[in-house]
Symmetry: C2
Subunit: 205 residues, 2 copies
DNA sequence: TCTTGCGTTAACCATTTGGTTAAACCATTC
DNA sequence: GAATGGTTTAACCAAATGGTTAACGCAAGA
């Protein structure tokens, strides 16, 4: 099944943009990676920004529905969060640069970026509904009280951090990269356990 | 007290590098910010990489001792972690770009960076000792069992994430920036609470 | 006052880099 | 097989960007 040139470019551009960021990425490098002439990039995508925007679109379109699916439905909060954790950790394992990429580019306030994000894609998570559920379970005494947004940030922080901070951790702790990766095998279980403990209400005595 | 040109350059270079990253920063922009000629940058720091390296050095030298101080001493683990959380959140509030900057540049595997990190500065935290303490408290039944490295990553993730992800969160949740900042006031308390709950062992009945 | 040398500037240079153009290639169609 | 039109290439261009140079200013010392 022969890949079209356009697909090939997108694929390679994604790799380069994700690893180097917009400012660090070079059109020439993308062309080389795709084994084509630099002019092709412009033929298919006009310019660097347009190409970048397409990648962004793709990334957002991949991430949002995953979150949407996990938070949707009737499961209790802790189960939904467990889904989020496992889903995202699995995905980041295959795409380690994605979180860093997203955050770094977003922090540059690229207008294109924001607009893509704002235009909610199909399957976009229904945050208000989920936050409501969190509050209800708290009032019912099923989980510890905590602001749902903070809770969400706690989860995402624990999920995302190890991947963007791998170089820091490895260097700070003098840990071989392979050993770090091995540790990451358990990561999902550990975060899930930590989260459940943190939300667990003590039994009344 | 008149600031020397060198200090002025460092100050402005730090701002620009931290916000734009190495690849995104422009020597001209730094010069403009400092209100001087571009040649001055090269006069004092020879080239972009050298200037960058000095900034890196400064950042690492600021961060490591803070962690070292918090982890040092005889306090119980949860208190030490509480210190870490409060110290870092306070510092990041004054320097919101620092975490993003550090991680993004680290992820590029800049050799200079790694070398600076490896050369342990004064006050560098004694991780092995702290990890040992964590394990001892776990065996004594004072805190829930968890791999100390995972624990540390959980903490740092929760501390750092909101700052690097502010644009993502704000856009995803349609939250006014000011409201987000207001929420950040409580951040330290919430992370401390979350951490303590997660580590708390249930009372035996 | 003349000299010395650090600090500073404007102008300039070379390379990188995003982007363009005109011609060539090649499969499909008439 | 000539014409058509999408695809690809090599060569080129202009702007951006990191870096250099030569001259100037000016305070401190001789």
């Amino acid at each position: 099944m022969p890949e079209t040139t356009e697909q090939l470019i997108l694929e390679k551009a994604k790799e380069v943009f994700m690893q180097k960021g917009f400012a660090g990425a070079r059109m020439q490098e993308i062309a080389d990676a795709a084994g084509i002439n630099k002019a092709m990039l412009h033929y298919y995508f006009r310019n660097k920004e347009k190409l970048f925007k397409v990648i962004i679109e793709e990334v957002v379109q991949t991430l949002a529905p995953k979150l949407g699916a996990a938070l949707h439905g009737d499961d209790p909060v802790t189960e939904k969060l467990e889904k989020v954790i496992r889903l995202y950790i699995a995905m980041i394992k295959e795409n380690p640069y994605m979180p860093m990429f997203l955050m770094h580019e977003l922090s540059q306030n690229r207008a294109e970026f924001i607009s893509v994000m704002k235009r909610r894609v199909a399957g976009f998570p229904d945050f208000p509904a989920f936050f409501m559920q969190v509050i209800q379970e708290q009032q019912a005494g099923k989980i510890k009280p905590i602001n749902p947004i903070h809770l969400m940030m706690n989860i995402m922080g624990m999920v995302v951090f190890p991947f963007i901070a791998k170089p820091v951790v490895v260097n700070l702790l003098d840990l071989p990269g392979a050993q770090f990766d091995a540790m990451m095998q358990d990561r999902a279980d550990i975060v899930v356990g930590f989260m459940k403990n943190a939300l667990r209400v003590e039994k009344r005595e």
